[in-house]
């Protein structure tokens, strides 16, 4: 009996809070990560790393190691120097930037503590580590740049002597009319801020298997990474192979957060070693190696000022910041995007009349430094929102009120900001109103006043913000980097009526595959359960950029939509041919082809598949394309900016300096919300990742560049007991550039949490006249600010 289907789909998948189908396996211990892969004849590599931050390598004696049980190969940097090309992250649109060339294993000189100086390949990891411990290296320690302050010291030590100084990159931006804005100011608040050096602490360490098959002349790379096609391109060129000689497969990834978007020397060397011995070689970074060689981030010292009128009007913002990168500009995304993005976005969500920014990236002999979740945003938002609250305190205005008077208004869009960014549409005031309502702001203020009378110090902090998402080719491509801004998706009808989706954007737990399944289900008109996904394999999927910069849903999702719609048209054309109907009068609902007017079933997808694949001879020359690919690239805007606001409520004990986070609220406008469950979980996870470096996380180094806390015993991360509950709400301002209207949602929480906490802390401490702007806000720093330490 034919079904009657009246709705476009039984239940639209887009916009529904659908749990992730691919989450089930993770709950049963069935995840498959790189370390779970064991290939025939697979060997293991262990790296010997420099114990010095900066040292000349005078001699490496490896005879003993070579004779150890199970050892297959021992190499130094020199041994790989001819087969593996050096690399450095340089983009031509970052004018004047410079970097020394990095080697996959150091040659002659090590430039940070943790840089690989030799590698041992053995039958087991234990044998490789045992042998690596027996390699003798003779070093001549060199002066090391062990901090941002040392890097900035005029006439001080130089991290890379061949470069002549420590300056990697500087940029100055000026917009609006600075002098005119400053002339109207009643007061200028100026503050210094410090954002700590910290790192991603991915639960899964960086992991790779290089599998060179000399018979096929093919390198298969199983790697825990966010950008498989980028790795394919980089590895092919650095290893002297053609692109088609390299296949990159990214299985389940145990946390990435931007840490796994880069080229790392040890991972590249692992592939070179596989090519040397003709066997698969596995490398899995242990936790100490992760702390010493995963990219680090932030480490900014900032002085900034905000010019305001006494009535609360914000006039101008001036920013001057220096970031301490590592000894090389990390390949291929560079180490300077952080500062560049700060110059682009700092303060730009207010109605500024004047703007000046000066950013500087300095080399050090600390661990390499590059992009990590919310690149630049925590600094830009922290500085802006910290200054706005400082100004509000000084003129005696409520923090909500000063934002209400100055945030960009709905009618201001579209606009170009003083820094030159183009904004399509935002919802700052709706976000502000919503968050104040959610938190019952007035009641919290009353509670705060009442608590203070009892000697209990609570604080309320707001942080408005924007986030860069859906980057166009203006992000990397314009600078010459071979990092794709477009993404492609293939959607195909299977003979039994299933839908297979192959996508260039992969999954690291965000829910990317679920989003694509939802989008394709609605685009074609089938239940989501009919849709299967393949991602993370350069042999299988269309070319794409991967999952970073909050681009998966917005860019990848649109490619999936376009491909799904094209397949739908093919199916309808075919069904019309088979059944002698007009395709324009047919629809696909719940996987059934129906008469659009009556809802009467015409055929189903399994029948369409049967005819298309097994009896195409009956179609009279019609050759339907049931495997379609579409690519999508944003072009109208360089970025789809999102906006939102975070609010933090906390309590400080002025006797101990301990702080308790009571609650967080977030209102986020990421355009069309494709899956509220996933957006909210991105928001909550990102907030806690922002809380980490605000309260706990810091890579501590001594002045010689020795890391002091390279274990999870000593480097503190957020754990469940100290974290707050977080309430999340959405405002939707879809981008009109794409059909699905989605912007990104992966990073806003990390962007705004430091500012919200800082403002709440300083609000709590305002009765004491104490103010903190140096993170992390440890009890010791709080007591010092209170004059008690």
């Amino acid at each position: 009996m034919n079904r009657i289907l009246r709705e476009a789909a039984d239940t639209p998948a887009i916009g529904a809070a659908v749990p992730r189908p691919n989450g089930r396996r993770l709950l049963e211990g069935r995840g498959r990560y790189v370390d779970d892969i064991a290939l025939p004849r697979m060997a293991h590599v262990a790296f010997l790393r420099s114990p010095h931050a900066h040292a000349r390598i005078l001699a490496i004696r490896a005879e003993t190691a070579r004779g150890m049980p199970g050892v297959l190969d021992v190499v130094t940097g020199q041994d790989l120097a001819e087969t593996v090309q050096p690399f450095a992250g340089l983009l031509v649109h970052f004018k004047g930037m410079k970097s020394a060339q990095q080697r996959c294993i150091a040659v002659d000189r090590a430039a940070w503590q943790g840089e690989p100086v030799a590698a041992v390949v053995a039958e087991t990891r234990r044998q490789a580590e045992d042998a690596a411990a027996r390699i003798e290296v003779e070093y001549e320690p060199l002066p090391a740049v062990g901090s941002l302050a040392a890097a900035a010291e005029p006439g001080g030590m130089i991290a890379q002597p061949e470069l002549g100084d420590n300056v990697c990159f500087t940029r100055e931006v000026e917009g609006g009319d600075w002098d005119r804005a400053m002339a109207q100011a009643d007061l200028v608040v100026e503050r210094s801020f410090r954002f700590p050096r910290h790192t991603g602490v991915c639960p899964e360490g960086r992991s790779v298997i290089g599998d060179w098959n000399p018979a096929d002349r093919r390198l298969t790379v199983h790697i825990s990474h966010q950008a498989p096609h980028m790795i394919q391109d980089c590895y092919a060129r650095l290893l002297g192979l053609s692109e088609s000689d390299v296949r990159v497969v990214c299985p389940d990834v145990g946390g990435s957060y931007g840490i796994k978007t880069h080229v790392y020397g040890d991972e590249l060397a692992t592939c070179a070693l596989s090519m040397r011995i003709g066997r698969p070689v596995k490398f899995v970074a242990d936790r100490l190696e992760s702390f010493l060689s995963d990219i680090h981030n932030r480490d900014h010292a900032v002085t900034a000022k905000l010019a305001v009128k006494r009535d609360g009007t914000i006039l101008a913002l001036g920013y001057e910041g220096t970031q301490a990168i590592g000894p090389y500009s990390v390949y291929p995304r560079t180490s300077v995007v952080e500062g560049n993005q700060i110059a682009n976005i700092c303060g730009q969500w207010y109605r500024l009349q004047g703007y000046r920014a000066k950013v500087r990236a300095l080399f050090t002999n600390l661990a390499p430094y590059s992009n990590y979740r919310a690149v630049g945003h925590p600094v830009a938002v922290g500085v802006t929102e910290g200054l706005v609250d400082a100004a509000a305190r000084q003129i005696g205005m409520d923090p909500a009120e000063i934002r209400r008077r100055n945030l960009l208004r709905d009618e201001d869009f579209p606009l170009q900001t003083p820094s030159g960014m183009k904004f399509e549409g935002m919802s700052h005031h709706r976000c502000l109103d919503t968050v104040l309502r959610m938190m019952d702001y007035d009641s919290l203020r009353a509670d705060q006043a009442e608590a203070r009378r009892r000697g209990v110090y609570r604080g309320i902090g707001l942080a408005s913000m924007i986030e860069i998402t859906n980057p166009s080719a203006m992000f990397y491509g314009v600078g010459g980097a071979r990092i794709s801004a477009q993404d492609g998706c293939t959607v195909r009808l299977e003979p039994q009526g299933g839908i297979m989706v192959l996508h260039g954007c992969g999954e690291q737990g965000q829910g990317t595959e679920t989003i694509f399944a939802q989008v394709v289900a609605d685009a074609v008109g089938v239940p989501m359960g009919r849709v299967r996904l393949v991602t993370g394999d350069t042999d299988a999927t269309p070319y794409g950029g991967g999952t970073w910069a909050s681009r998966g849903a917005g860019v990848g999702g649109e490619a999936a939509w376009q491909a799904g719609r094209a397949l739908r048209k093919s199916i309808l054309d075919l069904a019309a041919t088979i059944h002698q109907r007009d395709a324009a009068q047919l629809d696909i609902r719940g996987g059934i082809v129906v008469d659009a007017a009556t809802g009467e079933q015409v055929t189903d997808l399994a029948e369409v598949g049967r005819v298309a694949y097994f009896r195409p001879d009956t179609l009279g020359g019609v050759r339907p394309e049931l495997s379609v690919t579409r690519h999508y690239l944003p072009t109208q805007y360089a970025f789809a900016f999102t906006n939102g606001i975070l609010a933090c409520h906390l309590e400080v004990d002025p006797d101990t300096g301990f702080m308790k986070l009571l609650k967080f609220w977030a209102v986020e406008d990421c355009g069309k919300v494709l899956n509220p469950l996933l957006v909210e979980e991105q928001m909550r996870g990102a907030i806690v990742q922002g809380i980490g470096p605000t309260l706990l996380e810091e890579c501590l180094y001594d002045e010689r560049g020795q890391m002091l806390n390279g274990s999870m015993v000593d480097y503190l991360v957020p754990m469940a007991a100290e974290m707050p509950d977080m309430e999340v709400a959405h405002i939707e301002t879809p981008t009109r550039e794409s059909a699905i209207g989605a912007k990104g949602a992966g990073e806003a929480g990390t962007a705004g949490a430091p500012a919200a906490i800082m403002n709440a802390l300083n609000d709590a401490l305002s009765p004491f006249g104490a103010e903190l702007t140096e993170m992390p806000f440890t009890p010791e720093r709080i007591l010092r600010a209170l004059g008690k330490s």
């Binding site: 360490g205 737990g509 991360v717 007991a721 974290m723």
Partner: protein
């Protein structure tokens, strides 16, 4: 260094026996010798809980135990707890809330949470958070995990009082 020992214990309800190097960690034994993928390594210092096992009914860190210490014990991993269905309700609550993102911490988190599902004394959210505070999750921000544990506890308590 390569000294070996004969080891016998119960793994996920089945008696097993192997000859293993004495220096092998328990988590490496389970992963490399028995081919399990539920127990994972992240910190190797007993901080993060990704290698959490149930040994003789108690939570244990697979990265802090040496394989020979499992002699004669009753060891359960997520594979076994999934097969028996003991925590199917908890796994469903995790799934519904997306309380697992990258999944690396998930098995350890579930085994830790399973310990308090039937604790008869009332537990508020803070108590649940403290019980879970030996398990590091970088993705979720913990709230969905706490919600899932709380919901499972409540459902089990309701089931007991209805019975």
């Amino acid at each position: 260094m390569d000294e070996e020992i004969e080891l016998a214990f119960t793994l996920n309800g089945k008696a097993v026996r192997r000859r293993v190097p004495v220096r092998l960690h328990a988590v490496d034994l389970l992963r490399e010798v028995f081919g399990l993928s539920g127990p994972r390594v992240a910190c190797e210092h007993g901080i993060c809980g990704a290698c959490t096992l149930r040994v003789d009914g108690q939570l244990a860190r697979g990265c802090l135990l040496l394989a020979p210490q499992l002699e004669g014990t009753d060891v359960w991993t997520i594979e076994g707890l999934t097969a028996t269905g003991e925590i199917a309700d908890l796994q469903n609550e995790f799934h519904a809330r997306n309380a697992m993102q990258c999944g690396w911490c998930t098995a350890g988190m579930l085994i830790t949470a399973a310990e308090i599902l039937d604790a008869p004394a009332p537990m508020d959210r803070q108590a649940i958070r403290e019980h879970l505070s030996g398990n590091y999750c970088r993705c979720t921000g913990y709230q969905a995990i706490v919600d899932a544990v709380e919901a499972t506890r409540q459902a089990r308590a309701a089931g007991r009082s209805a019975a």
